[in-house]
């Protein structure tokens, strides 16, 4: 009989981190996915903690951690685990040849495509904004036919932000694409993967970019988890590139996912795509098998432990109907305000917390699901990522941070 030490359900940042952590401890891990997940289209930065509940900015992520309420996932796992998870991530990226920068002791301010800045914590080297702050001359690059990206918006917006008040200049690059399809950052990134693309880009930038300039560019410096494209262009033009935060599809998440899959594969994680988990088999408070319900038939996969990382409302990990709210696989209790009117605040753009954002599964300090009295419901099940209750990733800027930290903790405990 084949039996997994642990089955991880969900292939996003939380699930992959959990699988990698557990496999690194010598566990036999099976990772089940349903679709490629939001990681591939997301921003790919690890925003750990930018704002507190009352919308005040943290001085540093580390300082912010101390001010969180006890029900917050970071408080549950403790600051020591947060620290370890950050180190774990940075080391992994370094070993996979796709280094990230940052840490708990300072806020990384990332320029965005609308000319604002947003706080983050761990970012790929291409998104470190210090070259902008250090330079006097900044070139903002756009691409013809690229949607939702306007260089003037960036220079105008950034020009009003302390630390970013520089001499800005805009330049458009024409990749010369044929065909009627919309141009995306991924199309451009794949073009820049090629030597011809890099050459063409260099030629079109050579006039405006002076040695020592900082160049702001959408996330197009290669589609793969490496800095080969950035290094080549920086060498050719003797400048520094900074990729900005954009709307999905952002290539940065695609690169991060590729790196994590590469790591998981190296550690022997078995990945099952399109394994749509329907329910689990339980004996008392122990789960003994995970059952998939694909179109042909059900299949049962025995496991000693299970990590649930299926996401929130968007990922399908929590499902809200008109008169109910549920977690579909284990049918775990989901904590939500009883009255629907209390789920949201009516002032959509008030920069205030939305109560529905904190809806999720309650866990103990070891991330095992608990009931309203705090009793553990399933002893060998661990919850990671957006399934968890008690944090507002949108307001706090903590989405990938909680995914990383809770995935790491679940991978350690299972």
């Amino acid at each position: 009989m084949r039996i997994s030490d642990v089955i991880v359900i969900g292939g996003g940042l939380a699930g992959l981190t959990a699988a990698i952590t557990a496999a690194g401890r010598g566990k036999g891990v099976t990772l089940m996915t349903s679709g490629a997940g939001t990681l591939a289209i997301g921003g790919g930065t690890i925003d750990l903690l930018g704002y507190l509940e009352n919308n005040t900015l943290v001085t540093t992520p580390r300082a912010g951690l101390r001010q969180l309420p006890p029900e917050h996932p970071y408080s549950k796992v403790g600051s020591q685990v947060v620290e370890e998870a950050v180190q774990f991530f940075l080391t992994m990226c370094q070993e996979e040849g796709f280094r990230y920068t940052g840490g708990l002791d300072h806020v990384q301010w990332l320029p965005t495509a609308i000319g604002s800045v947003k706080p983050s914590c761990l970012v790929p080297l291409t998104m470190d904004s210090t070259p902008i702050q250090a330079a006097s001359h900044v070139v903002v690059v756009g691409f013809t036919r690229l949607k939702d990206y306007f260089p003037e918006l960036i220079s105008k917006g950034l020009g009003n932000i302390p630390g970013f008040q520089k001499e800005y200049e805009e330049v458009m690059i024409d990749p010369g694409f044929t065909g009627g399809r919309d141009v995306t950052t991924l199309d451009i990134a794949r073009w820049l993967d090629t030597i011809q693309g890099q050459q063409a880009c260099r030629e079109q930038l050579a006039k405006q970019v002076k040695p020592g300039s900082a160049v702001i560019i959408p996330p197009v410096l290669g589609s793969r988890p490496s800095y080969v494209v950035r290094d080549a262009l920086e060498r050719m033009l003797a400048c520094k590139f900074v990729e900005v935060v954009i709307m999905p599809t952002a290539v940065v998440g695609l690169r991060l996912r590729a790196m994590l899959l590469q790591r998981a594969k190296r550690l022997g994680v078995t990945i099952m795509e399109q394994a749509h988990v329907a329910y689990t088999v339980q004996e008392g408070k122990q789960v003994t098998a995970v059952v998939t319900g694909n179109i042909d038939r059900e299949r049962s996969y025995p496991a000693k432990a299970v990590i649930l990382a299926t996401g929130g409302f968007f990922g399908g990990g929590i499902i809200a109907e008109h008169d109910s709210i549920s977690e579909p696989i284990f049918n775990l209790p989901v904590t939500a305000p009883t009255e629907r009117e209390e789920w949201g605040t009516r002032q959509l753009f008030a920069n205030a917390a939305q109560p529905f954002a904190k809806i999720g599964i309650q866990v103990d300090d070891g991330l095992r699901p608990v009931n309203a009295d705090g009793q553990v419901l399933l002893e060998n099940v661990y919850i990671a990522g957006r399934n968890l209750a008690g944090y507002d990733h949108c307001l706090e800027k903590s989405g990938n941070g909680v995914a990383l930290v809770s995935g790491y903790k679940a991978g350690l405990n299972c």
Binding site: T30, I41, R297
Partner: protein
């Protein structure tokens, strides 16, 4: 059990399918699966002739694999393509490529003549003339079909019976794969039944818009297989595209009576053997095999949600080394890469896999899909085999 369903509004336009579509990566003229499938469906509700480069989709199903909302994107596209061909003429070339079964039947009457007919300059020129690439790796026909060879096998009678559905490629092009399946099942105390009356699964018909013919085949196959399912016999396939059609696409496309019961009993050969292993019934008396292999998972296996059973099975053989290439679609996607105007796209799609194979320095690639094997051999020059061939050798040498 949750069914695939057809509501295009389940698509949230997240673009996951677009970024994972190998054809969209290779050719900018393709609008991508989101627009060809669910988004296009909304336009097609309003306009009869609305068409966004539908022809580019190869039905490789990487869109379905990547969709977080379980929208059957490729099937929406195939249905739209069939609808389009209700009012537009299909080419002789598409007819030819869709009817491999008829070609196979003709060829099995005169195989030498058929191969002589395909693999020489004159007929390559004729094929090119109708729109089949003269560079494409067209398969050769076997001198004797699998079903004919199967009849000559003297099987050891056993109480356990299993039905084997060979499909056209194994039947007419590479019967050895079928013979290996039978041998391996016999070693594991199963007597094999091959239903002679079964017809092409319909996969090549669906991709070229011959939906009515595919449906007729589906009804026929379901009726035949259902009789065996009622007796409690498992249905085994060794071609991942046939398996996918029988267990999934029939349900997505056609309302055929008994289709669910049959789907519930379709097994990939390696999946079947691993289930025997789990029950302690697999003969694991394998001889050491010192070989090094790369394994390529066909897209039509990946979308089935059963993992990579052949990889697990072959790795049970002592001393063997098998590395998962994990390098994406090979590009051929059934008969897509045979088409003159698609040949270059198919080769571009397969490039990452070809480069991975070449860089590995390994001269043997295992893959379940017959046309994947043709394309891999064509793109790299390496030797290719069905994984079951390796399993059979490991038994034989013991």
């Amino acid at each position: 059990m949750k069914k695939h369903h057809y509501n295009p509004d389940d698509c949230t336009a997240c673009t996951s399918c677009v970024i994972h579509c190998p054809v969209a990566q290779a050719v900018r003229e393709f609008q991508g699966p989101k627009l060809a499938g669910p988004a296009g469906e909304r336009f097609r509700l309003m306009e009869d002739d609305w068409e966004t480069a539908l022809e580019y989709c190869s039905n490789c199903k990487n869109c379905d694999i990547s969709c977080p909302s379980r929208v059957p994107i490729s099937t929406l596209t195939m249905k739209a393509r069939a609808q389009y061909y209700k009012t537009h003429k299909q080419s002789f070339r598409d007819w030819l490529l869709s009817h491999g079964e008829q070609m196979g039947k003709m060829a099995s009457l005169t195989p030498t003549l058929a191969n002589l007919g395909m693999n020489n300059i004159v007929s390559k020129a004729i094929l090119k003339n109708v729109g089949i690439s003269d560079k494409a790796p067209l398969p050769a026909y076997a001198s004797e079909s699998f079903s004919k060879q199967f009849k000559k096998i003297k099987q050891q009678p056993t109480a356990n019976k299993a039905v084997f559905y060979p499909g056209c490629f194994i039947n007419y092009n590479q019967p050895q794969v079928g013979l290996d399946v039978v041998a391996v099942l016999q070693v594991n105390n199963f007597e094999v039944i091959v239903p002679e009356e079964a017809v092409c699964c319909g996969s090549p018909l669906v991709v070229n818009g011959y939906m009515d013919e595919a449906e007729a085949n589906a009804h026929k196959n379901i009726a035949i297989l259902q009789d065996y399912v009622r007796k409690g016999y498992p249905i085994i396939t060794a071609c991942t595209s046939c398996g996918l059609m029988l267990k999934q696409e029939y349900q997505e496309l056609f309302a055929s009576k008994g289709v669910e019961q049959v789907a519930g009993r379709i097994y990939d050969i390696s999946e079947f053997l691993l289930e025997l292993y789990d029950e302690g019934l697999l003969n694991t008396n394998f001889a050491r095999q010192e070989g090094r292999y790369l394994y390529h998972a066909p897209c039509h296996l990946r979308v089935q949600g059963i993992g990579k059973p052949s990889l697990e099975l072959v790795r049970m053989i002592p001393a063997i080394e098998v590395i998962d290439a994990d390098a994406g679609c090979c590009g051929i996607s059934g008969n897509y890469g045979f088409k003159a105007e698609k040949y270059d796209i198919a080769m571009a799609v397969g490039n990452n896999l070809f480069e991975t194979i070449k860089a590995s320095g390994i001269g043997s690639v295992l893959s379940e899909c017959g046309t994947c094997r043709l394309q891999i051999a064509h793109g790299t020059g390496v030797k290719t085999e069905h994984p079951i061939a390796v399993v059979r050798s490991a038994y034989n040498q013991k």
